[in-house]
């Protein structure tokens, strides 16, 4: 009898844990295109039974969840806090979670956001520790503090040193540009393209036909020929050869109207090599207002068939990928369409490679 009572009590006590497990499992298994949504909706009622003590567990589950699962978790935490009150947030555990780089950056950022809402003073006290943070959005907070502090300095030399220090830590384009602008005002010129690691030396070949925007999907020989960089190819108006093209633009912009002239309904290819010191996960950061495709070591990374919807921006597309140790081949296809308005003249792109925290990577060669 005693044994059964004990078992019953055990089941009652452990029930919420098992509920949580089902919920957490459903969050982790959430997939694209709505898969797992129905199961998660079924499990969601267990959130009602949770308390703020469960919040740290949610952040740990965030480490395993995708971006959609992260948003479900944010919703759960909002519901729990609303029920329990912001004061009930287990602050020490959350601070510990934020400080632990083993946790995913996006999870740590979410934990920081909830901490900021509940106890802004405590959250602010963490910001100076973020200047080397691997999570770009947290690092940004730390860098902004450095920039603000630099702006408050009246002594010119101290301000230069402070801005240079902030620049060394900055990874976001706007913060880098801001620090460079302030330094320029103080008489210090910074090579922005070098600072951000843009690839400025390329081989280009073209033009190839892009009538009716069809060239985007036509695999011209430079993209499907082995060792194509050492060969001539048949272009729109006859044989074409690779030529060296470089840029001195402050943001590494390659203006393709320069080598090929202001022509329409054409496309070209740009090729560069990147010597990596190791196998590594990286981010390929491309900006272009033209349609483009990007291959790394013959693998298509992404393709974007859109023209002149806004300006070319640095880091417009940030694409996760890998570099091999040694030589890596980078091939970019950049297309120009038929539009004739003044804002459609540009045929251009910029490109750089960073690590996952946004720190520039430079080729060894």
């Amino acid at each position: 009898m005693f044994k059964y009572l004990f078992l019953l009590l055990f089941c009652i006590l452990m029930h919420p844990v098992f509920c949580n497990d089902d919920l957490f499992d459903a969050i982790i298994k959430l997939g694209p295109k709505g898969s797992g949504n129905e199961n998660l909706v079924k499990q969601w009622s267990s959130v009602e039974k949770m308390s703020s003590a469960d919040i740290p567990s949610f952040f740990y589950i965030m480490n395993q969840a995708n971006d959609l699962g992260d948003n479900w978790i944010r919703a759960a935490i909002f519901e729990i806090i609303e029920k329990s009150g912001g004061d009930s947030l287990p602050k020490e555990e959350i601070i510990k979670f934020i400080k632990d780089y083993n946790n995913e950056g996006s999870s740590r950022r979410s934990a920081f956001d909830f901490l900021s809402s509940a106890v802004p003073q405590i959250a602010e006290s963490l910001i100076p520790t973020f200047i080397e943070d691997p999570e770009p959005s947290l690092r940004r907070e730390g860098v902004q503090l450095l920039l603000n502090q630099a702006g408050d300095l009246e002594n010119e030399q101290q301000a230069i040193e402070a801005y240079e220090y902030a620049l060394g830590k900055a990874r976001d384009v706007d913060q880098i540009e801001y620090a460079c602008k302030e330094l320029k005002g103080l008489g210090k010129q910074i090579d922005l393209a070098q600072k951000m690691g843009f690839l400025t030396e390329w081989k280009v070949i073209g033009p190839f036909d892009n009538s009716s925007r069809n060239g985007f999907n036509i695999p011209y020989s430079p993209e499907n020929t082995r060792d194509s960089i050492n060969k001539k190819h048949e272009g729109k108006n006859g044989p074409v050869a690779w030529q060296t093209f470089s840029t001195s633009d402050r943001l590494g912009l390659l203006d393709l109207n320069q080598p090929f002239g202001h022509i329409k309904e054409v496309l070209c290819y740009a090729y560069a090599e990147f010597d990596s010191m190791q196998d590594q996960m990286v981010q390929f950061r491309i900006g272009s207002k033209n349609a483009w495709k990007l291959w790394i070591n013959d693998e298509l990374i992404f393709a974007r068939d859109e023209y002149h919807r806004g300006a070319t921006r640095v880091d417009q597309f940030i694409l996760d990928g890998n570099l091999r140790k040694g030589k890596n081949r980078i091939l970019v296809k950049v297309c120009q369409n038929e539009q004739t308005e003044s804002w459609t003249k540009q045929w251009e792109f910029c490109f750089r490679i960073t690590d996952l925290s946004g720190t520039k990577l430079q080729s060894l060669n």
């Binding site: 949504n37 971006d67 959609l68 948003n71 609303e82 859109e306």
Partner: protein, 388 residues
């Protein structure tokens, strides 16, 4: 009568407030209020019961997506949810990630953002489901930003996500967010919103694009009829109050007789002098109202397309007008609310201006004689003095 305002240009999607709104609206009346917003937005507020809902986006990349609920009576914030964008957040500077207007069926609210993240919540802020459509299809994005506002029909959320690259419209189950159907759509940037055509025997959803407008069954996505003579990709269509006439921003403005089941639409008239600018047409009584790119407000007969009157108003104007049986309300980008007497079909005049001194790009919402409007920083309720 239900006084809610449950979507872009109201529950009926034509800018018409069934209840009257007085011309004596004032920022300083005792029932008026304003509250700060936590982020940017040009989505319209919507009203369900005693709550007004609105979206906002914040952060250096506008990747924080806010859904907010306030009490209509006093502007007290009831709840706020902040999610993170899973799709692209780059937009033209004039617009932002919180551009699409929310929609409600009276039980839940749905918020869609330019990142193509969609959140369905109950009226208390509890998440019912979410989707990340660009997470699912990485090439559904527009470099200038998205702004189409979804609609709900027969328990289906219809979301147009149409671009130069991948271009789709989705029918999502309002209960759990699963995809009921997905349609390939004409490739081309499209900022228009779907409209719902409803009568006793059917409920269809119209999808406008550069090719025209197509109506489909919301439950299965089956196309019922199409008008293929082209249409604008910015201002959306409107349906007359009786659901008999569809007004499409096509070759100026084109009026179609809405067909019965199994029939094709019939063109009633076309007037190339009635092309709307950015804002969509509004309808009141026998009049359709359009504002062109030169800030000229024009009234025309819904039956014939003949122009009744023209009135130059102060612009530039991005939002759409809303109307009652005798007044039209429009906000300029510079924050000037112009209240126009439209009860005479022969002439109109501006009878009052209210200067909010802020950039207003949205279409206002109306509820119980008050107007709700927002900027990047503020949500206002404008009521008349001694509002009951």
């Amino acid at each position: 009568m239900n006084a809610d305002w449950r979507g872009f240009r109201g529950t009926e999607g034509n800018g018409l407030s069934k209840g009257e709104i007085p011309a004596t609206l004032s920022q300083t009346s005792k029932d008026s209020w304003k509250v700060p917003l936590p982020g940017r937005g040009l989505s319209s507020p919507i009203v369900v019961g005693d709550l007004v809902f609105v979206t906002a986006s914040s952060g250096s990349q506008q990747s924080n997506l806010h859904v907010l609920a306030y009490e209509t009576v006093n502007g007290n914030k009831v709840w706020e949810r902040i999610f993170r964008a899973t799709g692209r957040t780059i937009c033209h500077n004039k617009t932002c990630v919180a551009a699409s207007t929310m929609v409600s069926d009276g039980n839940v609210v749905v918020a869609q953002f330019s990142s193509n993240d969609i959140f369905c919540l109950d009226l208390k802020g509890n998440l019912i489901w979410l989707r990340g459509l660009t997470f699912d299809y990485p090439n559904i994005a527009n470099g200038l930003g998205m702004s189409s506002s979804p609609v709900v029909a027969q328990g289906v959320l219809v979301s147009q996500v149409e671009n130069d690259a991948d271009s789709f419209t989705f029918g999502l189950n309002l209960k759990n967010g699963t995809t009921l159907w997905k349609k390939d759509r004409p490739r081309g940037a499209n900022w228009t919103s779907p409209i719902v055509l409803k009568n006793k025997s059917f409920e269809w959803v119209g999808l406008q694009s550069k090719e025209g407008i197509s109506f489909l069954k919301p439950v299965n996505g089956e196309f019922m009829w199409q008008y293929k003579d082209g249409a604008s990709t910015i201002p959306s269509s409107a349906i007359s109050f009786e659901n008999k006439t569809l007004l499409v921003p096509s070759n100026g403005l084109t009026a179609l007789r809405t067909p019965e089941y199994g029939q094709n639409p019939e063109q009633l008239w076309r007037n190339n002098k009635l092309a709307p600018g950015t804002g969509s047409p509004a309808i009141s009584g026998n009049q359709v109202f359009v504002i062109n790119r030169a800030n000229v407000l024009t009234s025309a007969s819904i039956k014939t397309g003949e122009i009744n009157w023209r009135l130059r108003i102060k612009g530039p104007i991005s939002g759409s007008p809303i109307v009652t049986s005798n007044l039209l309300f429009i906000f300029s980008e510079e924050g000037l609310c112009q209240i126009i007497d439209i009860k005479e079909e022969s002439e109109a005049k501006v009878i009052k201006e209210i200067d909010l001194k802020d950039t207003i790009l949205c279409t206002p919402a109306a509820d119980k004689g008050s107007i709700f409007v927002r900027s990047d920083r503020t949500l206002w309720k404008l009521s008349k003095k001694n509002n009951l």
